[in-house]
């Protein structure tokens, strides 16, 4: 088990962003669906050790991120792509990915090859030495994905990774997810249902800080049978579950 959450909550002032989430995940690709404000980003931030939980327990890669040493060990094996990622304009794609490879304590001897691999895996091989300020939004997002995967993480957390990517790039990206999901736990937070259908072996649906569904995409589709709202089976399942949770 790479991720073990028990009754995890997070409060900001009086707002309950995450209201008691219990979840376990081993290797595989896990989709995290939900409307805006459902708490997906806060949950991902807690798993990325960027935000401490208000209550509940969290174990990542078999360690407790509360302590400095274990947290550092987790972070060496972690890949994280936040929802909004700025970039250093004067850096090239290579500089950018290498910077975070070094900050993840990768041994310097391994860094050039790892960075080259990550850059080619996201399809930016012909932009490796191009300055970030000249890149489009989709390319910047891919550079962000590259820094997340550069250290071949055991826990890969991606918050809205396909924003700005065209359909062909999204297909390539899902193939990348499946490859990583063979060894690592990949959690993809998205509001695009079709991203989930193609790549994820399990799906969680969050609403108002709670986990209202956890199962396979097939099971989510089954929940949508007979439900009116939605153009595709998975979308119908999504709205059916939300409607039930809110009634």
């Amino acid at each position: 088990m790479n991720v073990e959450l028990t009754g995890l909550t997070r409060k900001f002032g009086r707002t309950q962003a995450v209201a008691g989430v219990t979840l376990e995940a081993g290797p595989g690709v896990f989709g995290l669906l939900g409307p805006n404000g459902a708490g997906k980003t806060s949950l991902l931030r807690m798993m990325a050790t960027v935000l401490p939980p208000t209550s509940g327990t969290l174990r990542l890669l078999g360690r407790d991120p509360g302590g400095y040493g274990p947290r550092r060990e987790i972070r060496r094996r972690l890949g994280y792509l936040p929802q909004t990622l700025g970039y250093y304009p004067g850096f090239t794609v290579y500089d950018f990915v290498e910077y975070f490879a070094l900050l993840k304590d990768m041994p310097p001897g391994q860094v050039p090859r790892a960075v080259a691999t990550a850059i080619e895996q996201v399809g930016l091989g012909d932009k490796a030495r191009v300055k970030l300020r000249t890149l489009s939004g989709g390319m910047l997002r891919r550079a962000g994905i590259a820094q997340a995967i550069v250290n071949r993480p055991e826990l890969l957390l991606l918050d809205e990774p396909t924003a700005g990517l065209d359909p062909e790039q999204r297909v390539a990206f899902r193939a990348l997810l499946r490859e990583f999901g063979q060894r690592a736990t990949v959690v993809v937070s998205t509001h695009l249902v079709e991203d989930v259908a193609a790549a994820c072996s399990e799906v969680s649906l969050m609403d108002s800080g709670r986990l209202v569904f956890h199962g396979t995409p097939g099971e989510l589709i089954a929940r949508g049978e007979g439900h009116g709202v939605g153009d595709a089976p998975l979308e119908r399942g999504y709205s059916a579950v939300l409607a039930a949770a809110r009634s």
Binding site: R45, Y68, R76, L81, G86, L102, E120, Q147
Partner: protein, 243 residues
């Protein structure tokens, strides 16, 4: 396969890629060597000193240690030297803490670092980066200031006297920047604090330089600096999320 010199026609017919040769792997080996970045001497020295390549790289990419910033600092201090030589008032000693505070505020933080949230998830902790950068900026400004002060012929008490208030002012700037997550607020707080100190000294003892030279202030300055440092530690200990 044909031999000799004429290969232009023949080579395309050499056959398909052999199944057991992984060309992608070969390219990655080539790309790793072609694309790699060689660290400069400053970065190599920092790596040995800090025993962390990541921390060294973070240090040499500090915004306020970049060449443009350093040049601006030197220009300001040289102006101070010129004015001091002209008027006799130790402007260098009055300017240096303010300039240093600005440098510190622009060393690290959410207002400056576009990849702030990502930096907080790194194995090399953002607190270490902050500490190392702040010390480096402080050290550089102290060295430049001392040189400028000596060049302007100021008395020894003044030349070294401003190091203590500079520490306090920098700590204030850093605390303000860290707590409000804005380097501009840090600069404003540091500058304002320093101006207030100068004016208060002037009001109390009739000299602008009282804030620098009066040894009565040393302990209060240091205590204040320690307090601000505690604030910085606290603000960076609990990573605060934004909903």
């Amino acid at each position: 396969m044909t031999g000799g010199d004429d290969l232009t026609g023949g080579y395309r017919g050499a056959g398909p890629v052999p199944g057991d040769v992984d060309l992608d792997r070969v390219w990655l080996g080539v790309a790793a060597q072609v694309w790699r970045r060689q660290p400069g001497p400053a970065e190599r020295a920092a790596t040995r000193l800090l025993r962390s390549p990541g921390l060294a790289r973070a240090l040499v990419t500090t915004p306020s240690l970049l060449l443009g910033w350093v040049i601006a600092t030197v220009v300001i201090l040289l102006t101070g030297v010129g004015v001091t030589l002209g008027t006799g008032t130790p402007w260098v000693a009055l300017l240096a803490p303010g300039v240093a505070a600005a440098g510190i505020a622009y060393a690290y933080g959410p207002g400056i670092d576009p990849a702030w949230e990502l930096s907080q998830s790194m194995a090399v902790s953002d607190r270490m980066v902050l500490l190392v950068r702040a010390l480096a900026v402080f050290g550089l400004n102290a060295a430049l200031g001392l040189a400028a002060s000596a060049a302007s012929g100021a008395a020894a008490a003044v030349t070294f006297g401003w190091l203590v208030p500079m520490t306090a002012v920098c700590a204030l700037a850093l605390a303000a920047a860290t707590v409000t997550r804005s380097p501009n607020v840090g600069v404003a707080a540091g500058s304002a604090g320093w101006v207030i100190a100068i004016l208060a000294g002037q009001a109390a003892e009739g000299r602008f330089t009282a804030a620098i030279t009066d040894s009565l202030f040393v302990l209060p300055y240091l205590a204040f600096a320690a307090g601000c440092a505690a604030v910085v530690l606290f603000a960076t200990r609990i990573p605060r999320g934004t909903p």
